[in-house]
């Protein structure tokens, strides 16, 4: 997981598979970065995510709640067709800006 911050904008490049097994470690790392950087915008980049099930939805919803404490926004970028489909199914577009990958 790669993290880059430009003060206001925190970008986290997720990688690998997001399932119930892997989500916990990802959650802890993302929350640590949010608490440390206090961004006004968090961008989660999914370019290198090879699989996601509904555990990824829980991960996104939880981070949305965490960001809301400071009124920060959430963008999800480079979503594959399959990940986009799962995000839409959960209505995540009501919480975050969704952007498909190339």
């Amino acid at each position: 997981m790669r993290i880059s911050s430009t003060g206001e904008v925190l970008t986290i490049y997720l990688n690998g598979e997001i399932d119930h097994h892997s989500a916990r470690a990802m959650r802890e790392e993302i929350d640590k970065a949010i608490d440390f950087n206090m961004p006004s915008l968090l961008i989660l980049d999914f370019t290198e995510v090879t699989f996601m099930d509904s555990s990824g939805i829980g991960l996104v919803m939880g981070r949305f709640k965490n960001l809301q404490k400071n009124g920060a926004k959430l963008h999800l970028t480079n979503l594959s067709d399959n990940i986009y489909k799962i995000m839409k199914l959960a209505g995540i577009e009501r919480l975050a800006v969704l952007e498909k990958g190339a």
Partner: protein, 145 residues
């Protein structure tokens, strides 16, 4: 290929979620599915197995039984069974966003399975366990071209 089948028996460890979905996907590959179909199958198996790990055996490790069978007309049947605590109210469990799994669980496991598979059947007995039976017809992309 009709009647080809396998059964897998694995402990309900979260590290096996990936193994289970990849194994089922590898078996389904003989039906020549599209990438989207393979992804749908992997996601649905992941949801069903995660349910066993999180809900059926919340405090201990139990066995999860996965069986797959190829039926006629290019249909794959996937059964995920546990001998865990069972579901008290199946209708409620199938409702989107309902979960007993805490804040980090979205409660969308069944909704995902239902949207990605052609049919999802749930039978459960409290204290005995749960069986999820899913079916999906594979389009056979070579014929569709």
């Amino acid at each position: 290929m009709n009647n080809n089948k396998f059964t897998l028996r694995i402990p309900s460890r979260s590290s096996n979620e990936s193994f289970a979905r990849v194994t089922v996907a590898a078996f389904a590959a003989q039906l020549d599915p599209t990438l989207e179909e393979i992804s749908d199958i992997k996601t649905s198996v992941s949801e069903a197995v995660t349910n066993c790990n999180v809900h059926a055996y919340p405090k201990s490790i139990g066995m999860v039984y996965i069986s797959c069978e190829i039926l006629k007309d290019n249909v794959i049947k996937i059964k995920v069974r546990d001998k865990g605590c069972g579901i008290a109210d199946i209708e409620q469990a199938r409702q989107p966003l309902f979960t007993t799994g805490g804040e980090e669980r979205a409660g969308l496991g069944f909704a995902v399975m239902e949207s990605m598979m052609d049919s999802v059947r749930v039978s459960s007995k409290q204290g005995k366990g749960t069986i999820i039976t899913m079916k999906k017809k594979i389009s056979q992309k070579d014929n569709a071209r």
